[in-house]
């Protein structure tokens, strides 16, 4: 029992802090927001400290959960990024937050617990429960968006399709149980000639596609990003995606999977290649800024999924660098966007014109984060893509790599277009004056600093893990 508590301490701490936040916002009448910040940051920082103290690979709760160096480093990333997005939400001067600070913080903390458990999960019930724990708070917060009509539409879509994906994964679990007689996930135990086991794998992967926004299950992304409250986006765009994809990578490499299912390599690659190419093409024509960035997340998800078919011993630190770059660039990007757009769900990319003149600090941060997402050298994004391309070439050769390159090339176009708009002269619909609190400025500066430090020397990151 003591061992169990020790291994699950970070998750338990966050659950405790989430309930403290809930009680605080129920019974406290003054300074709800400030106390919420203290409680949630204390919870996350304590969880981080206990995470750092964990060492080695341990399976517990009848092997349904696992703690290893890999899960530890991913959990650290998740905690840091959720810490930043929570602080950002509570430091903001948004009316919505002043009203619903308690609910917001509580729900996000619950969702963080879900994502932490998901990374460790090695059993179907744990996995499904943690996936639900991760998703249901997001359905709720999406419905709190600035424009009620649009928000309800987006939230309903997300809820319906999310439920369908849960059904898919439960179905996959049932088939898996039928095939092997256990719910502990070890895909290599499946019989590769059996139709049932192939179907189980297929449904499992389809559900993952939904949660991480891969083609062909990408359609919820744009509506949700557009309708969700814009200060949820830093969280929504990073943590769930990272948690789900790192779970997939961990599961697949955890078992020596591809020895028995070598054809799955190609299937996963086809999914991610389609996401990279088709996602980039979809992004080209978008003019609504939220939809544009939502679609631009599809190629990134595709690239991250490719890590799952590369040998983990080779790619371990590379995965970490990619996730790091993705998290910090997206955090900086969506935080600044939330200031600029101010919850206007119909914000066009053209409205960014002349931003540089009005607010240089914000636009420099926006430019650096976009350059990083595009993969320009001297930013972290370059290393993410460089490593991925090198690894893919080393394991699969030129043909497979060309898909990533084409995706990256198209990506340059739409990312540079945004930068051009920011720097251009014309300013027809002038934006409102943007004022940022000093705490948020520090958060933004921190993200940019990390992007540039990784860009200059990616080896520094290996000291973290």
């Amino acid at each position: 029992m003591g061992n169990l508590i020790h291994n699950l301490l970070p998750e338990i701490l966050i659950i405790i802090s989430s309930f403290l936040v809930l009680f605080n916002s129920l019974f406290n009448t003054k300074k709800i927001k400030e106390v919420n910040i203290y409680i949630s940051s204390a919870g996350i920082i304590l969880a981080l400290t206990f995470l750092f103290m964990q060492a080695g690979t341990i399976s517990f709760m009848n092997n349904s959960l696992i703690n290893s160096e890999y899960t530890k480093s991913i959990k650290i990333l998740i905690l840091i990024s959720s810490f930043i997005s929570l602080c950002f939400i509570n430091f903001g001067k948004n009316e919505l937050i002043n009203k619903f600070s308690g609910e917001y913080t509580f729900l996000i903390l619950i969702s963080i617990t879900g994502s932490l458990l998901l990374v460790s999960a090695r059993e179907f019930f744990t996995l499904i429960i943690s996936l639900e724990l991760l998703s249901i708070p997001i359905y709720l917060i999406t419905a709190m968006g600035g424009n009620p009509k649009v928000a309800i539409e987006g939230a309903t879509k997300l809820f319906f399709f999310g439920t369908v994906s849960t059904v898919l994964i439960i179905f996959s679990a049932v088939l898996y149980f039928a095939g092997t007689g256990t719910t502990l996930i070890n895909f290599s135990e499946l019989d590769s000639t059996d139709l049932i086991s192939m179907l189980s794998l297929f449904f499992f992967f389809l559900s993952i596609c939904f949660k991480s926004g891969l083609i062909p299950m990408h359609f919820w992304l744009s509506d949700t990003y557009q309708s969700a409250p814009s200060n949820l986006l830093p969280y929504l765009s990073t943590v769930p995606k990272i948690a789900v994809i790192s779970m997939l990578i961990g599961l697949i490499n955890y078992n020596s999977f591809f020895e028995s299912f070598s054809s799955m390599k190609n299937i996963i690659f086809i999914f991610s290649a389609c996401s990279i190419i088709y996602g980039s093409i979809l992004t080209l024509k978008q003019n609504n800024l939220f939809r544009l960035l939502a679609y631009s997340g599809i190629p990134h998800a595709g690239m991250m999924v490719i890590f799952s078919i590369i040998n983990i011993e080779l790619s371990y630190s590379f995965i970490f660098i990619y996730f790091c770059f993705y998290i910090f660039s997206n955090l900086a990007l969506y935080m600044t966007l939330s200031f600029i757009t101010n919850n206007q769900y119909s914000f066009l990319a053209d409205n960014l014109k002349g931003l540089y003149k009005d607010s240089p600090y914000i636009s420099i941060i926006l430019i650096v984060s976009i350059l990083s997402l595009a993969g320009v050298p001297l930013t972290a994004g370059f290393w993410g893509k460089f490593n991925l391309i090198i690894l893919t070439y080393a394991s699969y050769g030129a043909f497979y790599t060309s898909f990533i390159l084409i995706g990256a090339a198209i990506g340059f176009y739409y990312y540079l277009r945004i930068i051009k708009l920011i720097l251009s002269d014309k300013n027809i619909n002038s934006l409102n004056k943007i004022d940022i609190s000093i705490q948020n400025k520090i958060l933004l500066g921190f993200c940019i600093l990390i992007i540039i430090i990784i860009g200059l020397n990616p080896n520094l990151i290996s000291y973290l893990i």
Binding site: L314, P377, F386, N387, A394, A398, Y413, P458
Partner: protein
């Protein structure tokens, strides 16, 4: 070691410009910093006694390791060729900075124009870092990294500060082309970006395959390997198309004229002076030394493309009305000489190629700079609208005429020396064959055509008399200074070519293919 400061010094001007709004700082600090870098390069040349001493081999520094698995390091190497290229790049950057000084008089309010000036100077400083890093890189990865640092600002520079041109669209694809707004700066910048980024991805792919198959990204380690490992057709084609696009080698050249036409003067100067040389630098640093055998196999192809470049560029320049397009096609034609010379495979020819790189860089800087001044004074660059400039602005006209003579290859200018050496090199390596005679004819024809289109421009713009007397408007002091500096170097190389040959010394040996 101190020579590596050329990479760090521009950062100072970038940071200072970001924080400072003082107008004199914005105008003159970047010039000061680049002059300092130029001083550092000269100091390096004299300290290592590169002139008339043969002791200096090369300076190799490995700052830190980036990816130990694939031998990716932040390493730089300075040899005799890269010193010369560094010199050229700094001169180009300084000229570009000088050309931005007068940007203020573009019909905008003073504050706005200074914001523009500030941004454009920041981008040029970034390009300066990229170019210098690329020239002295000693790792395939570092090469690509700095290449990208140089390529991104170009897009922003043209799309935000370029010129909109009026171009007639005709031909079978008229309807489609109209859709693209041909001639606007958006068109130019997107065309350049698409070309250069496709090229960059091909180069990246090629370098990655080369590095992985060789097991190391260090250029020195790769050159010690057996050649069968790295002589792959795929890598060669990727790099040839990538570098060829960047240097505007014939079928991939169409971005160059449009880019030059729509770019601001500073952009054109940087383009023609140094960015179009990136492909050539790629040939000198990577293709010829590392993939020796396969480059030799394809040398006839490269010679053919280069010859087409020379003749095609010259013939097209004959028909142009816009002075910038004339200069752009002229530089297209002159780039062909460099490729031709690199394939000659002997000392004279390869030295001639390096001479041509430097001489063409200096001359085209002067040409574009004077064209920029003409546009500032007259408000037009069209040959049909300009006349009797020699009366209204004598100093400007003399500089333009000087640059025209230099690009023809008039004796005592650097153009003469380089063209002479190239023809000499071709004669030495191909002399006994029919091909050799044909190949000698091509540069000669190029020179002849250059004479025609340059004299046409000079005659129509400067010497033809106007009906009414015009006001005298001429260059400003700082413009005269930079033009004078460029003229000095052009004449200096023309008068004392042996100094450059002393610096080059035996470095042709690395470029001779077995």
């Amino acid at each position: 070691m101190s020579v590596f400061f050329v990479l760090i010094l521009p950062l100072i001007s970038i940071i200072t410009l970001c924080l400072n709004n003082n107008r004199n700082v914005i105008r003159y600090l970047p010039i000061l910093i680049s002059t300092l870098s130029l001083g550092i390069i000269f100091q390096f040349v004299f300290k290592n006694q590169l002139i008339s001493e043969s002791t200096f081999d090369s300076l190799y520094v490995n700052f830190y390791s980036l990816l130990p698995i694939f031998d990716v390091n932040m390493s730089f190497k300075i040899d005799r060729i890269s010193v010369l290229l560094l010199f050229l790049s700094q001169i180009t950057i300084i000229t570009a900075f000088f050309s931005t000084l007068k940007i203020a008089s573009n019909g905008q309010s003073l504050d706005e124009s200074y914001t523009r000036l500030k941004q454009i100077n920041i981008w040029i400083s970034f390009i300066s870092i990229g170019i210098c890093g690329l020239i002295i890189s000693s790792n395939l990865f570092v090469f690509f990294l700095f290449y990208e640092v140089a390529a991104v600002p170009i897009f922003l520079m043209i799309s935000t500060w370029g010129y909109n041109l009026k171009r007639e669209v005709s031909g079978p694809f008229q309807k489609i082309l109209k859709h693209f707004n041909v001639g606007t700066r958006e068109y130019g910048s997107y065309k350049i970006t698409i070309y250069l980024f496709v090229a960059s991805i091909l180069i990246f792919f090629g370098l990655a395959i080369l590095g992985i198959s060789a097991g190391s990204f260090e250029i020195m380690n790769i050159s010690n390997l057996d050649s069968y490992k790295i002589n792959s057709n795929l890598v060669f084609w990727l790099l040839l198309i990538g570098f060829g696009t960047h240097s505007a080698l014939w079928p991939f050249h169409t971005w160059a004229p449009d880019g030059h036409g729509t770019a601001p003067t500073a952009g054109s100067i940087i383009f023609a002076g140094i960015l179009m040389k990136i492909g050539v630098i790629g040939f000198i640093k990577i293709l010829i030394p590392l993939m020796n055998e396969i480059t030799l196999d394809y040398s006839n192809l490269i010679i053919t493309l280069a010859s087409i470049n020379i003749v095609y560029g010259a013939f097209t320049a004959l028909r142009q009305d816009d002075l910038k397009y004339v200069a752009a096609y002229a530089s297209l034609s002159h780039i062909g000489y460099i490729f031709l010379a690199l394939m000659t495979n002997n000392k004279t020819g390869i030295d001639g190629a390096i001479f041509q790189i430097i001489s063409h860089g200096l001359i085209i800087c002067l040409l574009f700079f004077t064209v920029g001044v003409i546009y500032r004074i007259k408000g037009t660059r069209l040959i049909s609208e300009l006349n009797s400039m020699l009366d209204s602005s004598p100093i400007l006209s003399s500089f333009f005429i000087f640059s025209a003579f230099a690009s023809i290859g008039f004796p005592l200018t650097s153009g003469f020396v380089s063209e002479f050496m190239i023809i000499n090199g071709i004669y030495k390596s191909f002399e006994p064959t029919n091909l050799g005679i044909l190949l000698i004819c091509i540069p000669t024809l190029g020179i002849l055509l250059t004479t025609v289109y340059m004299f046409r421009a000079v005659k129509d713009c400067f010497i033809t008399l106007a009906n009414k007397i015009q006001q005298i408007i001429d260059m400003d002091k700082d413009e005269i200074i930079i033009c004078f500096v460029l003229c000095f170097f052009i004449l200096f190389i023309g008068l004392f070519p042996s100094i450059i040959q002393d610096i080059l010394n035996e470095s042709y040996k690395g470029l001779v293919m077995k």
